[in-house]
């Protein structure tokens, strides 16, 4: 479900602002100057050639991007892009002012839905995660929460994409190890869209790509960026910037580098195919200087993400933000606290995609239980974000006069109408002591597990509706990929 920016006359949306206009201008200029003076490594010959042809200075792998190239790229980024699901229905509009929360890609571990223990992520998990996300009303797009371990090494991404796209009617975000797998994911998208031209008209997934912080676009990240731009696949191009380690520990410095890293992808994509959709942002958090972990629960993650959202909007681009994640390993107060704060901050800042809802253990373990918990928090945050309607009807002066001092509003038609708009919990406990006791004193953890297992057991999703012919073609693409990987890998002899 999308969150629409509320009507500014009736309903003043409570968005907070972190940065002043002057601060935004200075960070923006810092990014412009960094790309021009420091530049970035681009490990991709074609991308470097294109940048050089358009006025960038190239020295070895390093590219210095002049201000006019950045401004030109920003002028051709589309203001809005529509995504569709595999059934061809509009599933999302990528534009400033609409917010979609979802999970994130590639943690190696996963919390087993039955045992609640950490284990490797399996192929069956991908379809299950897609189905559960499909069922959750506040989750706006689908991603995997893991990297499949039980398929041919190097094809985890492709199997995930093939399984997830069929198991959801929501927008799908897919990642890829390399450009070959990215092309195969595109081919699956084309099969379901009914042709390449149809896919361009109605793209049914968005690609997620990631340069390496600080300021390195490696070959794989850049080749996928080029491929997506060429074929008009909407894409995310975002770093994971680590405050104090890969970027400055000062937040302003982090924003400058984080923005610059992503902007390289924007410039290349727009030079290759002006008007192609690029979303930037990324994980913006700090290195914990005691544990040397990249913190997913730090308040700085919320602060930096909200500030970067303002900067990305300042540049006229949609933002890929982060929330609903935690550093802890189990469902407990910490996971709820960290998720609630980051979800609330992301909701108020108004990023377009907000990922990692369902990340635990600092991004190393995906948990569908965390996603289910986050779904409830997102609902609560949305209730706040929607603000207060102020008009004649909502001011209710007539009702106030009629009820008068000492009366009650429970029997008013007005109450029947407006009480419907109150947020209703699905997981939060508001039972009486007696009811809670009778139910066996369930804690939040118990309620989340019950709700999650209930969805896994009973929610079917749209996979059964995928035409047999399309499924056959997808299987053929997977088989070809298996063959390609087999022929590429050298025979090994383990002693």
């Amino acid at each position: 479900m999308a969150t629409t920016r509320a009507n500014q006359i009736d309903n003043i949306t409570p968005r907070f602002a972190l940065l002043s206009d002057d601060q935004k201008q200075r960070i923006y200029l810092g990014m412009i100057k960094t790309l021009n003076d420091t530049g970035a490594h681009v490990h991709h010959d074609e991308a470097r050639d294109i940048l050089e042809q358009h006025g960038a200075r190239v020295v070895g792998e390093r590219v210095f991007i002049p201000p006019q190239l950045v401004r030109r790229a920003l002028s051709t980024v589309p203001p809005t892009t529509t995504l569709f699901n595999w059934e061809g229905e509009e599933s999302c509009r990528i534009e400033i002012g609409r917010t979609y929360f979802g999970p994130g890609p590639t943690p190696p571990f996963f919390i087993d839905p039955d045992t609640l223990e950490r284990r490797k992520y399996l192929r069956k998990d991908a379809a299950m995660v897609a189905r559960v996300c499909d069922a959750l009303p506040n989750i706006g797009y689908v991603d995997s929460l893991g990297s499949i371990s039980d398929v041919t090494n190097g094809l985890a991404d492709l199997y995930e994409h093939a399984d997830q796209i069929q198991n959801t009617t929501k927008p799908l975000m897919s990642w890829a190890f390399n450009v070959e797998n990215c092309r195969d994911e595109h081919r699956i998208g084309i099969v379901l869209a009914g042709g390449e031209a149809e896919f361009r008209q109605r793209p049914n997934f968005i690609h997620y790509g990631e340069p390496i912080s600080p300021l390195v676009s490696d070959y794989h990240a850049m080749s996928k960026c080029v491929y997506c731009a060429t074929h008009r696949i909407p894409q995310v191009y975002t770093p994971c910037s680590i405050g104090g380690a890969t970027v400055p520990a000062s937040h302003a410095g982090q924003l400058v580098v984080g923005l610059s890293e992503a902007m390289v992808g924007v410039v290349v994509a727009q030079l290759i195919n002006p008007g192609t959709c690029v979303v930037i942002g990324g994980v913006q958090s700090i290195l914990d200087m005691r544990q040397s972990i990249y913190s997913y629960g730090a308040p700085e993650l919320s602060l930096l993400s909200a500030a970067l959202t303002e900067m990305v909007h300042f540049c006229g681009l949609p933002m890929f933000s982060t929330s609903g994640c935690t550093d802890t390993k189990t469902m407990e107060a910490q996971s709820g606290m960290e998720a609630a704060l980051s979800i609330h901050a992301a909701m108020l800042s108004g990023a377009t995609f907000v990922h990692d809802n369902g990340y635990t253990e600092s991004g190393k373990t995906g948990s569908i239980f965390q996603t289910v918990l986050d779904d409830e928090i997102i609902g609560m945050a949305r209730a706040i974000q929607q603000g207060i309607v102020v008009n004649d009807e909502s001011l209710a002066l007539e009702q106030i006069k009629r009820v008068g001092p000492g009366g009650h509003y429970l029997y008013e038609d007005h109450t029947l109408e407006w009480a419907r708009r109150h947020w209703r919990p699905t997981l939060m406990d508001r039972d009486s002591y007696e009811d809670w006791d009778r139910k066996g004193r369930p804690a939040m953890r118990d309620r989340v597990v019950k709700k999650t297992r209930d969805i896994i057991e009973n929610y079917e999703g749209p996979a059964a509706r995928v035409p047999a012919d399309a499924r056959k073609q997808i299987d053929a693409i997977l088989a070809e990929a298996e063959e390609r990987v087999r022929s590429q890998s050298r025979p090994k002899q383990l002693q």
């Binding site: 090494n153 985890a156 390496i212 005691r290 040397s292 383990l494 002693q495």
Partner: protein, 215 residues
């Protein structure tokens, strides 16, 4: 000035991460005739132990620890040749790199710096390295420990390739191998035939020290 007060000055400078001052104290200690072994044990090792303890206790943070580690590395460049001259056992050599098709640098560098802090001679090979680079480095530097890093599930198997290449070159037994990186696990380390897995930079130092003292 007494030898012990010089050693405490050395410790103090090292804990504070003031490299210039540290090197000055070491030079003057050597000029006064203090043995390298004494500087090492009473000055440097004592200080780095204190740094480790303070870090674990939360009194020191990573950037401070790294400063001390870099200072230690500078100090060891002076001390190590003297220890070797007088046949004193040194902490040994550690070679580290990120495997082929993986450009991730930061975690590997963190391990390298922490190992320098522990007194090892560290050869940091870089990123995106062919197995042969590791083989050549083992031949050239004759390290006690070889460390490998990978952040991607696709590049993780390259660690196994390096181990195979070392076997083919007939030098697998000459070096202990430690592996790490976000997706790497204990189980994976065993699968590919590495000796040790470490979850992070601090654990690397502890595990390597344990391995060295067991050897």
């Amino acid at each position: 000035m007494s030898t012990s007060s010089t050693c405490s000055q050395i410790s103090e400078a090292l804990i504070a991460g003031r490299q210039e001052e540290l090197l000055k104290h070491i030079h003057s200690a050597l000029e006064q005739g203090t043995e390298a072994e004494q500087i090492m044990n009473e000055g440097l090792v004592a200080a780095m132990d204190a740094v480790g303890q303070r870090w674990k206790a939360g009194d020191m943070f990573l950037p401070e620890v790294i400063r001390s580690a870099k200072a230690m590395s500078g100090a060891m460049e002076i001390i190590r040749p003297k220890l070797i001259e007088s046949n004193v056992k040194t902490m040994g050599t550690f070679v580290i790199g990120t495997v082929l098709r993986d450009l991730h640098d930061i975690g590997k560098n963190l391990v390298a710096m922490m190992m320098e802090g522990a007194g090892f001679k560290v050869v940091n090979l870089g990123i995106d390295l062919e197995p042969q680079v590791f083989v050549d480095a083992v031949k050239e530097h004759k390290p006690d420990i070889l460390g490998m890093s990978a952040l991607l599930t696709t590049t993780m198997p390259q660690m196994g390739e390096v181990i195979n290449a070392l076997k083919e070159a007939g030098i697998r037994d000459q070096v202990k191998i430690i592996v790490g990186g976000a997706p790497v696990t204990e189980e994976f380390a065993q699968e590919i035939g590495a000796d040790v897995y470490a979850a992070n930079a601090a654990a690397t130092v502890d595990k390597v020290k344990a391995m060295m003292s067991a050897a």
